[in-house]
């Protein structure tokens, strides 16, 4: 009888489509959340309402957890075969998600914040949770935001996508081709989620927000920038002197987690030292070459 476990052998693992594994990652998360009493919303990817962007591909599972439940979820997930491979601080400029990996279910991004939403992570989650619905993923009923809220979240994600063709495709489907009624429903969610700054990237009005401390974060995310500009934006967006100093100190530390993934093995002390000195140097090189390009224009 043709039954086999798709765990270890790569040749067998290859027979399980990626979208199936990711569906099970969502199912696993919901299973864990249900049993430990955590609230979470499955966002983007497999969880996206298929009528928003038909045929949209995905390569990992994204979930947004109620901020106060994140620690509990991380602890639970470690007991069920999930390995933390990138923590929040080093995930992105927005420090919004941690990445975990499971040998059967693939990659998971656990979000504690959805970039661009507010006014606080807690209130943003409450707003999304208040009208959540469900969809079946991997055979398990999973909580997802309301359809129009999903559209707003997808556009906020696209706003950070820079020149990524997938982001442009999402904007075309969800916003550019939408009629006034549909746009109004999306804008209502943008308003409820206090997402005006991030969404201004979509409407081409970002520069109206130059005075916002997070303006540079969105400018760099949407238009590109050097690593140094990115860190400067992170420091500017951090609230309070203590937070700013913490971010600034991280900018010169080596992300050992990331380095481990890149190398595919635990990194040695020598490699960490090399990376420590290499990163600022790379930042400087990028800054210099960018200025040189600017002068040539």
């Amino acid at each position: 009888m043709a039954t086999h476990e798709a765990t270890a052998p790569p040749e067998v693992g290859a027979t399980v489509p990626l979208e199936v594994r990711i569906g099970f990652a969502h199912a696993c998360l919901q299973w864990v959340a249900d049993r430990c009493g955590a609230d979470l919303l499955h966002v983007k990817g497999a969880a996206l309402d298929p009528t928003l962007v038909p045929g949209r591909g995905f390569s990992d599972a994204d979930v947004l957890a109620r901020p106060e439940h994140v620690r509990m979820l991380l602890d639970e997930l470690r007991h069920h075969g999930w390995e933390l491979i990138n923590s929040f601080a080093y995930g992105s400029s927005f420090e919004h998600s941690a990445t975990l990996r499971h040998s059967d279910f693939g990659l998971l991004d656990l979000h504690r914040i959805y970039p661009g939403t507010g006014p606080t992570p807690e209130l943003a989650f409450d707003t999304l949770w208040s009208e959540h619905t469900t969809t079946v993923l991997g055979g398990v009923e999973c909580a997802v935001p309301a359809r129009d809220a999903q559209a707003a979240l997808l556009l906020l994600h696209a706003a950070r996508g820079g020149s990524d063709p997938k982001a442009a495709h999402d904007v075309e489907w969800v916003w550019t081709s939408a009629d006034e009624t549909r746009r109004a429903r999306i804008l209502e969610w943008v308003d409820r989620l206090d997402a005006g700054l991030g969404f201004s990237v979509i409407t081409g009005t970002l520069d109206d927000h130059r005075d916002d401390p997070a303006y540079d974060l969105w400018r760099v995310a949407s238009r590109g920038g050097t690593r140094m500009e990115e860190w400067r934006a992170r420091v500017r967006a951090a609230r309070g002197l203590r937070a700013k100093l913490t971010v600034a100190s991280r900018s010169v530390l080596v992300n050992v987690e990331h380095l481990t993934i890149v190398r595919g093995r635990p990194v040695s002390r020598a490699e960490i030292v090399a990376e420590f000195f290499g990163r600022p140097a790379r930042g400087l090189r990028e800054q210099v070459s960018r200025r040189a390009r600017g002068r040539r224009r």
Binding site: T3, G138, V140
Partner: protein, 99 residues
């Protein structure tokens, strides 16, 4: 009218678009089991109402006499049940192969 079996309470299930593969994950930690071909057909019929005559339906689908496949089918669903991926439903007499 119910099926002979249902997925276990901690089983996640995904069926391929062509119905020829069934992916079953033991939640939350795995493993992930792949049922291909005849195994997928057995899963589909075992979990589809009515329970009565489900093995006969499998036999018809694979073009074999019911008595020729019943023992293998029984062993197969017993294995899935032992893994808690399948749970017998309701009237067990209906769920038995050949019923």
């Amino acid at each position: 009218m119910s099926a002979a079996y249902r997925p276990g309470p901690d089983a996640g299930v995904t069926v391929s678009d062509d119905g020829m593969s069934v992916y079953v994950a033991r939640l939350p930690g795995g493993p992930l089991v792949v049922l291909d071909g005849a195994a997928a057909l057995i899963w589909a019929e075992a979990t589809t109402a009515p329970a009565t005559g489900w093995v006969a339906r499998v036999a018809e689908l694979v073009g074999q006499p019911e008595e020729a496949i019943a023992a293998d089918v029984t062993a197969f669903v017993a294995d899935l049940s032992a893994r808690e991926l399948l749970v017998p439903l309701g009237a067990d007499s209906d769920a038995r192969p050949g019923a």
